[in-house]
Structures are given as C-alpha cells and as structure tokens.
C-alpha cells in the first residue's frame, strides 16, 4: 500500500482521488454544472444510446469538463434517436437528435465548450408543466 511520506504525497494523492468522488460532489449541486441527459428508453437504447452515454462520460472526464450525465426516459423524439438534452448553466436546455459518437464529439467541442450551436437541434415543440 502507498505510504504517504510527505505533504506533497498527500496533495498528489488528494488530486488523484478527488476524481473518484466527482460524480457524488456534482450530484449535490447539479445546477452548477453542464447537465447531459441521454434518452434511454427502448427506442434510445436500440439506436445506441448506451454507447453515446459511455462516450460522453469518458470524454467529458478526459477533457476536464465538470458535467452531470444522467439517463432519462423517452423524450418523444423516437424518430431521431439517440437524443440527448444538454443544459449549460444559466441557459435553456437544448435537445440534439441523431447523436452518434461523432455527433457527440462535435457537441462537446462546439456547444459545451464554446456555446456554438451545431446541426441536429430539435426545436422545442412542447411546454413542460414545470414552467406553467
């Protein structure tokens, strides 16, 4: 087992280990982070949503973006699966359709990092009862 021999050892270890708890730290304050919801109903899963979700989890982590990734049920856009909803703190949620690994990569690079819109946005065609 690792011996912590100095303050520097402890600091290094702390940094390494903090990543492991990020999931929990963020969960207590989801509004402060980028939130990605992957539609994972039968239609989504059948179109490969699970792969997209895994990709998002890994890549956002690798690219040092603090994000909360969760799955959700069917958003109703079954024709455009896999769909994901991305909420950047302080902005309205945006839904993207036909998200494969390449699209997911584009969304991270352009929309999540720089706020630039990319193709494939599904316009909001409903109102949720939360806003009423």
């Amino acid at each position: 087992m690792t011996k912590v021999k100095s303050l520097a050892d402890l600091k290094r270890m702390q940094e390494e280990l903090q990543g492991k708890l990020k999931v929990r730290e963020r969960a207590t304050n989801p509004e402060g982070h980028v939130q990605v919801k992957v539609a994972m109903a039968t239609c989504g899963i059948a179109s490969g949503a699970k792969g997209v979700m895994e990709f998002m989890m890994e890549e956002l982590d690798k690219r040092n973006i603090d994000a909360v990734i969760t799955q959700t049920g069917c958003m109703g856009y079954c024709y455009a699966e896999p769909t994901i909803e991305v909420t950047i703190p302080g902005k309205e949620p945006v839904v993207f359709g036909y998200v494969d690994i390449r699209k997911a990569d584009e969304i991270i690079e352009k929309y999540i990092k720089n706020g630039e819109y990319v193709d494939g946005i599904i316009p909001v065609n409903y109102e949720s009862i939360d806003n009423k």
Binding site: M1, T2, K3, V4, K5, S6, L7, D9, L10, K11, M13, Q14, L17, Q18, K20, L21, V23, R24, R26, A27, T28, P30, V38, A39, M40, A41, E54, M57, V68, I69, T70, Q71, T72, G73
Partner: protein
C-alpha cells in the same frame, strides 16, 4: 454512476446489507458492474425513512427500500432511467413525491459540519476520506504551525465541548499543553449513554477518519504521542469501522512513527466500556480505562493536570473531534461565523419520541426548537399536540411550548432549565404523563449511580420513592415540597456530574407541569391517562344492556350485575387489566 446505500446501525438492521448484495447481483445481470458502483456509506440521518438508497449523479433519494426492490431499482432507474415513484419520499402535507433530498423539509434547514461525510463517503475506505480533503488539516498543522498556533486557531473558532458541559476546547488543549510531563494522553470519549442519543455512534460509523485525524492534531498541540478511544462495547459497528480506520491510517503513514515525514509520532488504541453511564464522566472514564472501578473522583485535579495514569490528559467527545479538521481546512473565521455569540458552529441532535421524522440532524447553533421539531422533525406524530421536549438526557430537563422560540445554544438551554447535553431530544405529546417521565429518568440515574457518594446513591432513591407514591395516588402536597428540597440538596452535595444533575428532570417538570403533580396529588387523577393506579373503570348505565360478557371475562370477579340489568365494577377489586373493555360490544365501559 454511484449508488449509495446507508450502512448505519439503523438501516443495517433493516437489511441494508442484503440491499447492497441484491443491487450488485442485479447490476451484474445487466452487465453494468463496471459502470455503476454500489457504496455503503454512513448514516444519512433520516432514520425514520430507512433504509435509504441514493442514486448519484442525479441525486435521487429512495426511502424505505427493501432487498426485493433492488431488481426494480436497477431495471427502471439505472437501465431505463425512470424514477421508481413508489420508493420516493412523499411530502407528508402535499402528498407529492420528492425525488431530491434538497427539497425535503428534513434537510432544508440543516448544515452538516460534523456529519459532512456521513452518508457521502464509504467509511471503510480511507481514500474517499482523503479525496474529501481528509488529512489535509493534520498536514497543514504539522507543516505550517507550532502547537500554540494550532491551539490559537481552535480557540479563535469558539469550539466548545459537544459532550454536554460546553467547555471551550481550545482552552482545554492549552492548559494541557502547558502542563509538563514525560507523557501526555489524548482521549476520545465515545461512551455515549443518554437514552435515545446516537450522535457519536453515527459519526464513528460514518466518518471515523475525522476523529482519528483530529486526535492526532490534538496530540501535536498538547505534546502527546498516545491516543485512546473509550468506546462502549454495545457499539460493535462503530468499533469495527474505527479499527479499520486506524489500521488504514497506519498503513498510509498517517498514524504511527514520523507522520508525513515530520518528527511527530502518534498512535491510537481502543478501550472498551461495559456500558456504565457514569463512565461518560471524565474522571470515571479515566479510572475505567486504567482498569479500576468506573467511579468519579473530585475535581480538581482536572484531567488536564492529572488524568490517565496520572499524566496530563485531554478528554473530548467524538462530535467535538469531528469538528476539528474542518476548522483547519475552512478557517476559524468560517466556523465562528456559524452559530450564536457564545456558541459557535453546529450541533448534532438525535430526534426521538413522538415526532414524525425520527433521525439524526445537524443545525447551526441558535436554531429555534420550533424549527427543529416542526420543520425538520415534521411535527408531532398522529397530529397530536406538542407537550414537551426533553433535552440533555437524564441530566437535562423538559422544555415546553413557551420555550419553542428559544434559540438553541449552551447558555439559553441552561437559562431555560435544561441543558445541551450530548444532543438527545425526546419529544413528548399530550398523552405523556410528566410525572411518569420524571420517574423514568430518575429510574435510569438510580440504576446508573455508581454508589460512591450518598447524596446520589440514597437521595435519588428517595426521590424515586416519593414519585412512586405520587404516581399511585398516595402523594401529599408535602411530598412535592420534599421533592424540591431533596433535589436541591442532591444537586449541591453530589460528587460528580451524574448526581449533580440527576434531579433536573424532577425540577424542570415541577417548574413546568406543577398542575400535573397537583392533579396526581389532590384530585388523584392522571391528566394524560397514563398512571394505571389512578385510572378507574366505570360502567355507563345508559349503554349497559346487561349482557354479562364483562362479568364473565373479569379475571378477578370485580364485576357484578344480573342479566339484563346494569352492571357495576368494584374498583377495590379491579386490577385494571382492560379485559372488560375489550369484551364490551356496547361501549358501556370507560376509563376515568
């Protein structure tokens, strides 16, 4: 994704171990064991609703989960991403389900300092503690501060002992550090004994490393290399987790020789208590650790001067230690900004009794009793009326409606005739008889008195006898005066805290519920209908049809009456067993 399952004693006895097992099996079934981790944490505090399962990252809070629910949780929540509504907490007023603990009345007013890691990390994994800034406080202290500088920070934070007395912690450390000796000791008092209190147990079960780290810091401050935890043997899970924590800290070089490459060495060992209440008193605790009888001795000398094995010793309670690392990490000013003028920081309370949300809470000092009982505690069970709340355990007193707006801190509670104690809060409703409550606590102290000094050994026994007399209806008004006088004598002349505070429940009920005492003595009635001896079974003639069912079932033949005639209960013979009421189909028998 992480699934957190409560592993406190309460939830464990409601089978949270099998919940973990089943969740893991279901994850394997769906090939998700690599993506989703199941972690057993310490207590979430909301014991009323246990076992609790929390889903991260979406922070869904499932309550009253059974092992069989694992399949549905994984299939619905994890695989399909749908919340399992039937396992969500239901707002008792609006009946809506609340998926997130942030929006529950129980959590909204709480600030978790001592419990910061409880229900968040796996207490058996030192790495999770380190990831939460664990052991940074000791690193900071050893690397940047002299012992006196560290003591000054604790002094500046205003931290006071959480075990009951409220003595300033920094001052205690300073006095001990100035006493010269070849060896000194750091002792953790984990002999939590108040009925209904489980704050310290939960801290040790949920975040044992915070106590280990704080004890090492204390050792550096006072110049001790040895720490001892006095823990009651009735806390097997806390003992196990503490042992694991100490072992892990040793392996990581955070306990033992030359901690973090400095020349400071410190190690901790455990001593088990056999569950004697008096051993929570520091001198009795020290004697018990030395292998002697757990009896208190007169102070001074204080342990700071002559404690364990005659050496200078700091004795602090578990919750006090749990606050120490945060003070160094976040600063004394931050800590001092929470709370009231003379009581800084937060306090953990164990809510019990006739309250909706039984559990463990942590609130800033200065929160009112009303907020604690009605907002966090969710009010009184079954919409009954609030009567009193007992704080401070057997040494404390009862507070009533008129105290509800009192901000809770050390000094206010004492001014109201109770005390902080270690943090037990037992709530009573209109059905509780306050004379019986006083007798209950006295029964406890009589049982737990070590017998060394006569005021406590004999005096409290006499108090109990007088209460017994009142409860059976033989009391006189002189008895009430006698209770007061005797209580004053016991308080003045007992040797230790146990005896000095034992009459408090009697005095505070006398002050606040004199009418109930008078009802017992003069009218021979128990207003709450609790005292069996004062109850009378009577027949309501209008309702009685003379079916003889009651008379046939009375085990002592106390009921007489002809068929189709009104019956009569002879109260001299009646043993108040209630068999007649059960048999009567016409509601013709009542208790007065």
């Amino acid at each position: 994704m992480h699934i957190l399952v409560c592993g406190g004693t309460g939830c464990k006895s409601s089978l949270s171990d099998s919940i973990v097992e089943n969740l893991r099996a279901e994850l394997e079934h769906h090939n998700l064991e690599d993506e989703v981790q199941v972690i057993m944490t310490g207590c979430f505090g909301f014991c009323e609703q246990g076992p609790i399962v929390k889903m991260m990252p979406d922070n869904t809070f499932y309550v009253k989960v059974q092992p069989n629910d694992a399949r549905e949780l994984i299939k619905e929540h994890i695989v399909k991403g749908r919340k399992v509504t039937r396992l969500l907490y239901e707002n008792p007023v609006s009946k809506e389900s609340v998926p997130d603990s942030k929006h529950m009345g129980f959590y909204r007013k709480q600030i978790r300092v001592a419990l910061r890691n409880c229900g968040f990390i796996n207490p058996e994994n030192i790495e999770e503690y380190i990831a939460r800034d664990g052991y940074s406080a000791i690193a900071k202290v050893l690397g940047e501060m002299t012992p006196q500088q560290a003591i000054d920070i604790i002094k500046k934070s205003g931290l006071r002992g959480r075990g009951g007395g409220g003595f300033p912690t920094g001052l205690k450390w300073e006095i001990t550090s100035k006493n010269q000796a070849d060896q000194k000791y750091v002792v953790c008092n984990a002999d939590e004994g108040d009925p209904g209190a489980f704050m310290d147990r939960s801290v040790l079960e949920g975040d044992p490393h915070s106590v280990v780290e704080a004890m090492a810091i204390c050792g550096y401050c006072i110049g001790a290399t040895k720490g001892l935890v006095y823990i009651r043997a009735e806390y097997p899970l806390a003992i196990e987790r503490l042992k694991i924590a100490i072992e892990q800290a040793r392996n990581y070089g955070l306990l033992g020789e030359s901690i973090l490459g400095t020349n400071f060495s410190f190690d901790i060992s455990l001593r088990y208590g056999a569950g004697a209440f008096v051993c929570g008193e520091e001198t009795a605790l020290i004697h018990s650790m030395e292998g002697k009888r757990g009896e208190p001795t007169v102070k001074p000398p204080f342990p700071a001067e002559s404690g364990y094995l005659g050496k200078p010793t700091v004795v602090n309670n578990v919750e006090t230690y749990a606050n120490v690392p945060v003070i160094f990490n976040k600063g004394a000013e931050w800590f001092a900004s929470i709370g009231t003028e003379k009581s800084k920081g937060t306090k953990v309370f164990a809510l019990a009794g006739k309250i909706n949300n039984v559990g463990l809470i942590e609130v800033p000092m200065g929160t009112s009793l009303r907020e604690v009982i009605f907002e966090i505690g969710g009010g009184i069970k079954n919409n009954k009326k609030f009567k009193a709340v007992q704080t401070g355990g057997p040494s404390g007193g009862c507070l009533t409606e008129k105290h509800l707006s009192t901000p809770i801190d050390y000094d206010n509670l004492i001014a109201s005739g109770s005390m902080m104690g270690s943090g037990g809060m037992i709530v009573m409703d209109e059905d509780d008889c306050m004379v019986s409550v006083a007798r209950y606590y006295l029964d406890f102290t009589v049982d737990e008195s070590c017998g060394k000094c006569s005021p406590c050994r004999i005096g409290n026994m006499r108090l109990k006898e007088i209460l017994d007399k009142i409860i059976v209806g033989n009391g006189t008004m002189e008895d009430i005066d006698r209770l007061r006088n005797l209580s004053a004598v016991i308080k003045d002349s007992s040797l230790c805290g146990l005896g000095q505070t034992a009459p408090n429940p009697v005095l505070s009920t006398l002050d606040n519920f004199m009418d109930e005492y008078i009802a017992h003595v003069k009218d021979k009635k128990c207003p709450a209908g609790r005292c069996k001896s004062l109850m009378k079974y009577e027949v309501i003639p209008e309702n009685c049809v003379g079916c003889t069912a009651c008379a046939r079932n009375c085990p002592v033949n106390a009921i007489s009456g002809e068929r189709k005639q009104t019956h009569f209960i002879d109260t001299q013979i009646c043993i108040k067993c209630g068999a007649c009421i059960e048999r009567c189909k016409f509601n013709a028998i009542v208790i007065n």
